[in-house]
Assembly symmetry: C2
Homo-oligomer: 331 residues x 2
């Protein structure tokens, strides 16, 4: 009975049978987990149910307006727990870990989902968990009002880079058309999420791009984000979003690695084109993710941006075929 996979139709049935639901989101929450959670809570409420989103300690100001109104009153004890966009128990914030074993239903679009919930509805073809939540809410007959549509638009647009990534399908666009019909403020959200950048973001981005280093005849690019740079520019977590994709977006680059100096070590985000496997590169350091986008953290005594850069280049050298390296590229 454990680790059972269910269809979106079955997921809708299960949810219809639940009440007093608490919805979990993942650590370092992005638009997909937050938008999906807010939409699920609102959809359940539209059907007369009691539903809340578990407070997420890592929530950034950008996504606060979606999740905070869904927070439970003090002392709320759920009858059932649902998880959205969470591929593994280890991705839960510490404050939610106690709920992991109680998770009745997990809704996710990661093919790597570790099936930690009692039942899991996973659709790797969905560009975002938000697509799947939309399908389930429709199946349940939940109301999708303008605010729910805003939450789902945020989930889908952020996880597809505003419909740029290859995960975007005709269904993605059709769902978005329906969300716009339902009154979502697409133009406003696009401004907030994709257009407008703070002066600090502009400063950190131009500095990171200026100092990007190329290896293997320009096929590998490494960007470094030191704590000093973050402090100097005043960039927040929200400002740093999508910084990881910049290196890979340069013409000729097959593997882009972005290194962040963090208290716990050097966090590395790897992005690749279709000729290289980002998750294999990160797996060498105990990380993981998708084939085109993955991450890992290098820890240990004396780990610096430079040391981490060398380590990740060695892994790329070992694991990616067809690159032309000079001796100095790996030093």
């Amino acid at each position: 009975m454990s680790n059972l996979l269910v269809t979106p139709e079955e997921a809708a049935e299960r949810l219809l049978a639940l009440d007093r639901v608490l919805v979990l989101t993942h650590r370092r929450p992005d638009g997909d987990t937050i938008g999906s959670a807010a939409a699920l809570v609102r959809g359940l409420r539209s059907l007369g149910k009691t539903a809340y989103a578990c407070p997420n300690p890592d929530l950034t100001p950008r996504y606060e307006p979606f999740l905070v109104p869904c927070y439970p009153p003090e002392g709320f004890v759920p009858d059932a727990v649902a998880a959205v966009d969470i591929a593994a128990e280890t991705l839960l914030p510490d404050s939610m870990r106690a709920y992991a074993a109680q998770t009745a239903l997990s809704i996710d679009h990661h093919g790597t989902n570790r099936l930690f919930a009692r039942e899991t509805c996973v659709e790797p073809d969905s560009a975002a968990t938000g697509e799947l939540v939309y399908a389930i809410l429709r199946r349940m007959g939940a109301e999708i009002d303008a605010q729910t549509a805003d939450a789902l638009y945020t989930a889908i647009s952020t996880d597809t880079g505003c419909f740029r990534y290859s995960s975007t399908t005709p269904r993605t666009h059709r769902i978005v058309a329906e969300l716009m019909d339902a009154g979502c403020r697409a133009a406003y959200l696009n401004q907030e999420l994709f257009e407008i950048r703070t002066p600090a973001r502009v400063a950190i981005e131009s500095a990171v791009l200026r100092d990007i280093a190329y290896y293997a005849s320009g096929a590998v690019a490494v960007a470094k984000v030191s704590q000093a740079l973050v402090a100097r520019t005043g960039a927040t977590e929200d400002d740093m979003e999508t910084l990881s994709s910049m290196a890979r977006r340069i013409e000729g680059v097959r593997v882009g690695a972005t290194l962040y100096e963090r208290r716990e070590g050097i966090k590395i985000s790897v992005r690749t084109d279709e000729t290289a496997d980002a998750s294999a590169i990160c797996a060498r350091f105990g990380g993981g993710g998708h084939p085109r986008a993955a991450g890992c953290t290098l820890t240990g005594e004396g780990m610096t941006l430079d040391t981490a850069s060398r380590e990740i280049r060695c892994a790329i050298f070992d694991l990616v075929e067809g690159l032309t390296w000079t001796d100095s590229d790996r030093q």
Copy 2:
């Protein structure tokens, strides 16, 4: 009989009655004029007609693959001329000006269309002329194969900033879903058009952003692109695309002006939020455009980037309400 407005249905009828058609595009061609022209030519051909796109002398490598295969054989004399995405006769390249008076049908989405053609089908609600061309081709029963879908996807995605701009409607997303069903290579085109940036683009963008100047407490931003910077970075026309939107995209900026040093003078692109009228600002210098995006060129003896910056700031000071200026802001 002249300057007659026609519906998309009537435009389809007119096109069905034509043969040996030459399609015109505008100077400094963008994705919308090129993609629309290529799609119209291919659609007409699928109905057994002879159709070509007039060679555009300003065509950049980015859009060559769409238009060049549509060029006519030497000596081709059209029976009819159609224009796509061209708001005024003056926007035609010099080499096409002779055809202006012969234009039987103009298809456009600019509300400012000057109705220079015999008949004009203009839909300002269309996010791109490509949307309108799609509707007309469907109405005509033309085949929309994968390559035609690629051309239309390029037209629509480039004119909407990949579905970010407020001009994007539910219809935009529905048409795109149909183009994807027809086999357009959305993921590939997104990479080419929006994701991948040349090292030269990255260099010019980070330099322009670093030197951006703020006025009126950060509500006005002026970016300058000197010929020296263009030469130093090796940036091409393709690399400079969308540079004009960067200044406006910074948080707090209501009016962003980007100044380009050109042989003919200083070209200025103005972008505004909904509280300011870009076309009114540019109209003062004989330019024009949309309310949120417009352009003008400042010429004259001794016109420099600095002089032009002062001129445009004075116009903004006069025409935009609610800004807080210091004396030095206008100098």
